[in-house]
C-alpha cells in the first residue's frame, strides 16, 4: 500500500537506498533441516527478513470429516511474530495473515503430489521472525524447501520474489520502505521447471506494458533464488561427501 514519502528511494546512478542495483535481489542465506522435531524445515535470511518454515506430515487428519478422500489436505499458516515489525504486532491472526496463509497455500499446492496421500494432512508453518518487505515470497521460498526436506514428493520447487515500481523505475525485490514509498508491488511465485506461476498479486498502478516488464523481472528474481534453493538442499549431503572423501 503506497504511502507518500518525500525521500528519494533511487539516486541518479540507479542505486537504491541499500546500495543495490535496480535488478538485484537482496543477499540471501538459506539453511535446510534446522529444526529437530519437524518432519522438514528451512530458514531464510533475505536482507533483513528472517523467516522460518516447518512441515509436519503427511499424517492422518483429525477431525476425520475434514479429510479429503482422494488427496492430502495442505494446511498453511503464515504468522508474524509480535517483535518482527517496528510497532509490536498482536499475536492474534490478522486479516492480512489469513489472506496470505491462503495465497501461500495456493502457491505451494500445485507443487506437491497431494494425490499420493489421501485422507492425510500436510501442515506448513511459516513464522516471520523479522520482516522487511517481501515476506510472503520469502515464506514460499523457504516453505517449499521445508516440504522437500520432509521428503514429500514434489513436481518442482517453488521460488518466489516480488518486483515493482519505485520512483518511476522498475525494481526487483522491494524492501518494506520501497513497497510503502513505491507505486507498485507485484509478488510472484514460480515453479522453474514447469514455467508456471503459482502466486500472483499486485497492488499499485501499472500500465499493461509496465506490467509485462515487472512480471518478467519478478520471474528473473525467482530463477536466481531457485539456484540458491537447490544449493541449500544439497548442502548438507555435499558437506558429508566431501568430509568423507578427504579421509
Amino acid at each position: 500500500m503506497p504511502r507518500k514519502t518525500s525521500e528519494k528511494m533511487i539516486n541518479q546512478n540507479g542505486t537504491r537506498l541499500d546500495g543495490r542495483k535496480l535488478n538485484e535481489v537482496r543477499p540471501l542465506k538459506i539453511e535446510v533441516g534446522i529444526l529437530a522435531n519437524a518432519d522438514g524445515s528451512a530458514y531464510i535470511e533475505q536482507g533483513k527478513n528472517k523467516i522460518l518454515a516447518a512441515v509436519y506430515g503427511p499424517k492422518e487428519l483429525h477431525p476425520k470429516h475434514l479429510a479429503l478422500p482422494d488427496r492430502a489436505l495442505l494446511q498453511c499458516r503464515y504468522h508474524m511474530a509480535p517483535f518482527s515489525v517496528q510497532e509490536r504486532k498482536s499475536p492474534a491472526p490478522s486479516r492480512r495473515e489469513i489472506e496470505l496463509s491462503k495465497v501461500i497455500r495456493e502457491a505451494l499446492e500445485p507443487a506437491v503430489f497431494l494425490e499420493h496421500y489421501p485422507r492425510t494432512s500436510i501442515d506448513v508453518f511459516i513464522e516471520v521472525l523479522q520482516a522487511d518487505g517481501g515476506t510472503r515470497c520469502a515464506g514460499i521460498t523457504v516453505a517449499s524447501l521445508a516440504l522437500a526436506d520432509a521428503g514429500i514428493p514434489m513436481r518442482d520447487l517453488v521460488a518466489a520474489c516480488a518486483a515493482g515500481k519505485v520512483d518511476g523505475h522498475l525494481v526487483l525485490d522491494l524492501t518494506d520502505l520501497e513497497d510503502k514509498g513505491g507505486t507498485a508491488d507485484l509478488p510472484l511465485a514460480w515453479m522453474p521447471n514447469l514455467n508456471a506461476i503459482t502466486l500472483l498479486q499486485m497492488d499499485g498502478d501499472l500500465t499493461t506494458d509496465e506490467f509485462e516488464q515487472v512480471l518478467n523481472l519478478a520471474i528473473e528474481g525467482c530463477k536466481q533464488i531457485h539456484t540458491l534453493q537447490k544449493e541449500a538442499l544439497k548442502a548438507k549431503y555435499v558437506a558429508v561427501k566431501e568430509a568423507v572423501e578427504e579421509e
Binding site: A196, D205, T208, F211
Partner: protein
C-alpha cells in the same frame, strides 16, 4: 468440499470438454460476462447502497460514513475499510461465524481495487487534520453465490460508493455539528475487476458456480478508468503460464471498459 450443490464428475468432464472446444454450458462465449443488473439506493438507512445481479449471483453493498480518527502516518486522510460477509443464506456451503479466509480474501481484493486506483479522494475526507476524519465503511453482503463473487462485489461496491452521500457539517468550538443537506462522496476513478477461470488450460471470463468447481485456478485483474492495472489476485490450487496471464490482461482491458459503462450509467 462436499455440498448439495456440488457437481457430479460426469458433468465436470463435460464442462471441461466443452470449454476445450471453445463452448460453455450456458452457451456464453469464453470471454462473455453474464447479464449484469444494478440497482442503487435501495437501503435508505445506509449512506450509499447497491445491489448487483451477475447472472444469478447476487451481492448487496451498503456504505456507512462515520467520524473517526485518522491513521498516524496519514493524519490528513479519511479512512476506507472494506468488509465482506458470506452469509449462510447465500449458499449451503456458507456457515455462520466470523469471516473465513474466503470472505477475507474477497474483502481485501475489493478493497485493493478501490484503494490502489485512488477512486475515493481520501484527502477530501479530512475534517480536523490529525484528529477527525470521515471513515467510509464498505460492507459487502453476498446474497446468492452462483459464482464469481469477486467481480459482482467489486461492481456493487463501486456502484454503492457512487451512490454515497456524506452529511454536511460545520465545526463549532472544536466540535463537529451536523448540518442539513448532503454532499456526494468524491469518487474520481472507477475500478473494475474481471476474473478468469482456468479450465482444461483455457481461460473463461466470469466463471459461474459449476465452472468454479471445475477450475484449477482463477485470476482477477482490476483496472482503473485509464486501463492501468491496479490490483491482481491469483487464486485456486493450480497455476498459470506467463502467456495466459498476458492474454488475460489484454482481454481485461476490453471487458473492464464494457462493465464500467454499465456501472456509470446506473
Amino acid at each position: 468440499m462436499t455440498s448439495s450443490i456440488s457437481v457430479a464428475k460426469v458433468k465436470q468432464r463435460r464442462i471441461a470438454e466443452l470449454i476445450s472446444h471453445g463452448k460453455r454450458l450456458d452457451e456464453r462465449g469464453l470471454n462473455d460476462h453474464r447479464e449484469v443488473q444494478i440497482e442503487v439506493g435501495i437501503i435508505e438507512r445506509a449512506e450509499g447502497s447497491a445491489r448487483v445481479r451477475l447472472g444469478k449471483t447476487e451481492v448487496m453493498v451498503g456504505t456507512k460514513i462515520e467520524l473517526g480518527e485518522p491513521f498516524l502516518d496519514v493524519p490528513n486522510e479519511g479512512v476506507l475499510t472494506v468488509n465482506a460477509e458470506l452469509v449462510p443464506l447465500a449458499s449451503p456451503k456458507f456457515e455462520p461465524g466470523p469471516p473465513n479466509e474466503n470472505a477475507i480474501e474477497l474483502a481485501r481484493v475489493v478493497d485493493r481495487g478501490i484503494r490502489e486506483s485512488k477512486a475515493i479522494s481520501l484527502e477530501k475526507l479530512c475534517v480536523t487534520p490529525g484528529q477527525k476524519v470521515f471513515v467510509v465503511f464498505v460492507d459487502v453482503y453476498v446474497l446468492n453465490d452462483d459464482g464469481n463473487l469477486i467481480d459482482a462485489s467489486a461492481l456493487a461496491a463501486l456502484a454503492a460508493l457512487l451512490n454515497t452521500k456524506i452529511f454536511n457539517y460545520e465545526i463549532k468550538n472544536g466540535e463537529v455539528e451536523i448540518k442539513p443537506g448532503y454532499t456526494q462522496l468524491p469518487v474520481v476513478d472507477y475500478p473494475i475487476a474481471v476474473t478468469f477461470a482456468k479450465i482444461n488450460d483455457k481461460l473463461v471470463a466470469d466463471p459461474w458456480l459449476v465452472e468454479e468447481q471445475v477450475m484449477d485456478a482463477r485470476l482477477t485483474i482490476t483496472m482503473d478508468k485509464d486501463g492501468k492495472i491496479c490490483a491482481l489476485q491469483k487464486g485456486g490450487y493450480g497455476y498459470f503460464s506467463v502467456e495466459q496471464i498476458l492474454d488475460a490482461a489484454k482481454i481485461a482491458l476490453q471487458k473492464t471498459e464494457e462493465l464500467r459503462k454499465i456501472v456509470v450509467k446506473s
